[in-house]
Each structure stands twice: as C-alpha cells, then as structure tokens.
Amino acid sequence: MRTILILIKKEFLQVFRNPLLMSILIVAPMVQFMIFPFCADYEIKVLDIAFIDHDGSRITQDIIHSFDASDIFVSHGIIQNKKDAEKMIQHDKIDILVEFPNQFEEDLMNGEATRIAITANAINTTKAGIGVGYTQEIIGGYMQKFQEDNMFIASEEQIPARLNLSYIYWYNEQMNYKNLIVPGILVILVTLIGCYVTALNLVREKEIGTIEQVNVTPIRRWQFLIGKMIPFWILGMVEFIMGLFIMKLVFGITVQGSIPMLLGITAIYLLVMLGLGFFISSVSENQLQAMFIVLFLFIIFVLLSGLFTPTEGMPQWAHYTNYLNPMSFYMEVIKKVVLKGSAFVSVQTETIVLSVMAVIVNTGAILSYQEKSK
C-alpha cells in the first residue's frame, strides 16, 4: 500500500512538473472542447437561393415571397436568364435554384401534374441535401395551404403525389447536432486522456531508462501499473467533470440521467482505456510506435463509434467490429444518459460489456509488462 501511494505521488509530481504534459492534459482538451463543437457543425445557417420564373403568376410570386419569410434562405430574387443562374451556381453565389415552368399556375388550377425543378450546388453534399429538403418543405407547405384554400377546385386524387413531402423532416435531426457532438467530444477527450497519455507514459520510462531502475527492485508489476493507473484515472475523471461543467455552461446541455451513474460508467470506461494505453505502452519500444498504434486504434474507434456518422447506416461487418469497440458502447451510454435520461436498465448491457473489457484489457496489460527481458 505504501509502495502504491509513493508511486502515485511520484506520478503526480511528474505530471505537475511537466508543462507540456499539463497542457496536453488540461488546457488542450478544454480548448478543443470549446472550439471543436463550433467548427465540426453540420448545421446549415445560411442558404443562398435564386429563382427562374417562366410563369410569372400570382402563385409563383407567393411561393417566392414565402422564402423571404424564412430565416435560413437569403433570396437573390428572380434571374431572367438560365445561363446567368448556372453561372451563379458555378461561382458559389447561390446554393439552390428553383425553376417554375410555363403555365405552372394554370396546370395547378386544372389539377394537372406539373413540376418545379430544384437545382442544388452539391459541392457540399450536406448543404445541398439540407437545402433541397428545406426548399421542398417551404414549397410543400405552401402547396398544402394552397390545396386547403382551393379544395373546391382540386380533388384529392388530382393532387400531384410529389407534394406529399413528409420525409423532409429527416433533416431536422441535424438541427440537434450540437447536442450530439458535444457529448461526443467529451467521449473523445476521456479516451485521449485514458489511452494516449498513458500509452506514452510507460514507454517513455523505457526510453529514458528509468524503468530499469524500477525493474531491478522487488516491486510487483501489478503494483507498478496500479501506481501509474490511479493518477491518470483521477485526472481523467477530473477532466470528465470539467467537461460536464463546460457542456452545461457553454452549450446549455444538462445531463438528463443520473450523474453518479454516469460517473460510475465513465470510471469503468476509463479503466478500459488506461489498460489499453498500458498494453500498447508495454508492447511498444518507443513513444513514436506507441503514438502510432494509439492513433490507428483511435481513428477506427471514433469512426465506428457513431459520433460522426450514424451506425445504422454501416454494413454488417462494421457492426460486428463494433462489438470490440469500447468507444461505441460508451458513446451509447453517453447518448442515452446525457440526452435521453435513460435509467440504468437501458445501459446495463453496455456497462457489463465495458466491465468485461476492463478486466480483459488490464489483465493483458499486466501480463504483457515484462520486468525481465527475454
């Protein structure tokens, strides 16, 4: 016990005396946390739109005006020439071009099928997708109203099917993007502290040779590893709690579920990452190698975790791979507890899986740490 305490003291002294490490541990992640969510943001705030109106009727005028009422669209008015409009798209002046055909009003009034052409600048596919969605929503909304106002003219079956646009609400999910990315960044931070910093720590002692002086003492390898793990475990938890505060103060996201439960599961997840870090550290020869392995795993973890892309859209093999990805389980927990306020029952499976992973990874770390070279 005294041995472990002195090792913890040693590790803390070293962390606090290392300005670079301190900044990696505290400053950099916090700055990242404050900046990243604002940049890595799929939310579209401004869409430039222009119109070509071959009809020039009251209805097309009304529709064009209804875009002015929207906060998102900046209308560039009616363009006379299609060539000019295309040029504007090419030069990124407009994102969306709406073209009304000849006799649009007349066809509509007669209940005949008619079409509006929506052209989107798809250089930014997300923006194009959302832009088309919003455009359809506004036109659809107008049509809905028009249809209700003109019930006596257009009977049910004569309404073009195209006007039934309920699927566009899919895009509304993006409006809540910050709520997802901010907790996600919290996950990334905890992972980085857990895995990255510890992976570099042990291998650094190998590089500078201090590990030899330790290995020649009668210390047991689990003592040595626990003495290293506890300080970084504490630091990780402190970081996580700081993150929760920032999340609340800056982004106004309150943890919906139980905070003690969230801390408990985070503690388990950190153990997985710490163990993984030490495992990597003890199989690596130098810091560069360790860094490379962590980076390799980290990118896979993040991409598969469902932070940037929904896991539902991934192929089957990716789902299977995800069973080995601690981050995806933890991400689930964060989503459920932070955003939905789920109770323990619904994160039970994830907690069990993470606990099993923690045991396996840490056993591996202790076994792989060789005090005696072969």
Binding site: Q14, I208, G209, E212, K372, K374
Partner: protein
C-alpha cells in the same frame, strides 16, 4: 563464502552470442572488477545476474538465490546502478531516494534518517530539494550510487559508474565504493578505466562474451609480463 557463483552462463540474442559460457565466483565483501571493451558482454552479464535478463543457459546464484527461479528474492538483496543514469530527472534528490527507499520497504521514519545520513556523506545535503535535472553528472552518479545502497543490499552491481565524470569525482566515487565494501557488501563493478581496475580486489577481462583472464591485478600483470593493467588489457584486446 561466495556472494556470487556463476556457472556456464550464456546469453544469445538470435545468432549473436553476447555472453559465452562464463563461470566465476565472487567472495563476500570483495570488489570484483569486470573489464572489457565496449560490446564485450559486461552489461549483459550484469543484467542476467541482477534478474533483469533471462539467461539462455547456465546458472547463477546471487546472494544464495537462483537467478532463474528466485529473481524476486535476489532483487531484495541487491543494489543496481545502470550504465545509463536512470533516476527520475523530474524528481528532486530527496524524492528519488524516498521513492526507491519506499519501494524497498524501508520503514518511513528510518528512511528519512538514512536519506539525510547518506546525503551528508555525499556532501549533498543542500541539494536535497533540487531537481535531479539541475545537478551535474558527477553528483548524479554519486546520488545513483547512494540510492542503490540505501536499502543496505548484500551485493551492489555498478555498471560503468564513473563513465563521463571528472577525475576528482571518480576518486570520491571509489572512496564510496571502498567504504561500502568495508561494511561487508560485495561489489561487482564494470569499467573501462584501467587505472580503476587497479583498485579492485580481483578483475576479469572479457572479450567477445568470454572471460579471457581472471585474477588479482598483481597476478594478471605478472602472468602477462607487463607493469600496468592497461598493458594487460591492450595485450589481450589485440588477440
């Protein structure tokens, strides 16, 4: 009584034989010198004896324990000073000694006294709270030695303890070694300073993983027919 008994100790790294079938004994309280050119296998031999490296074949008994099966017990009874300075640069002099003293389970109160005594002997009391980073190499080496003997080991392994330090510190260092040996501690020291070899009770000269010569400095000089250990060494490295 013998502190160290090495028999047919061999270490291979792939096809390369770093230590090739060496055998020797070191008596209790003896200062035993390990001489040899760089790459002769001295460090490999020391690492096997201190339980840091698994031998390929052969046996070694250190402080009465088998290096292959009882390395934990050996570690409790030896002190080790690595060729490369391996104390923590970002801890203070005192913190380093406290760390290793605690790992060796020296009782808390006694530990503090021992550290202060030890620093007084090194004339480093004032430097107790300096970061190791900031003290000169010669002092670092003395500190490393003091830390290695803090837990009063029966045997101390010193791997090139004086390489890179000035003649005055080297002299001081050897005084420390003599002082320690006089309390019955066995010292096994490697060096490539031939004048230092003269201070040893017995020396062995290694080349290509093999012990070529073994005896007291006087015996070896007589055997080769030269006046200094330096000449003995040069004579043997020529082969």
């Amino acid at each position: 009584m013998n502190s160290i008994e090495v028999e047919h100790l061999t270490k291979k790294f792939g096809d390369f034989i770093a230590v090739n079938d060496i055998s020797f004994q070191v008596k209790e309280g003896e200062i035993f010198g390990f001489l040899g050119a760089n790459g002769a296998g001295k460090t490999t031999a020391i690492k096997m004896m201190s339980g840091l490296l698994q031998p390929t074949s052969g046996t070694a008994m250190v402080a009465g324990y088998d290096v292959i099966t009882q390395s934990k017990l050996i570690k409790r009874n030896i002190g080790y000073m690595s060729q490369r300075f391996s104390l923590y640069n970002d801890l203070t002099v005192f913190e380093n000694m406290q760390l290793f003293g605690t790992i060796y389970k020296i009782p808390r109160r006694e530990l503090k006294d021992r550290i202060m005594d030890s620093l007084a002997r090194l004339d480093m009391t004032k430097q107790a709270n300096l970061l190791v980073n900031s003290i000169p190499l010669g002092w670092k080496q003395k500190l490393a030695f003091a830390t290695a003997i803090l837990h009063k080991p029966k045997i101390v392994f010193l791997d090139e303890p004086t390489s890179g330090v000035d003649p005055i510190v080297r002299r001081e260092f050897w005084n420390l070694i003599y002082e320690t040996a006089s309390t019955g501690v066995t010292i096994l020291v490697t060096t490539h300073y031939m004048d230092e070899a003269e201070y040893c009770h017995r020396i062995s000269i290694m080349a290509d993983g093999v012990i070529r010569l073994l005896g007291t400095p006087e015996e070896l000089k007589k055997q080769v027919g030269v006046n200094t250990i330096n000449d003995v060494f040069v004579e043997y490295v020529k082969h």
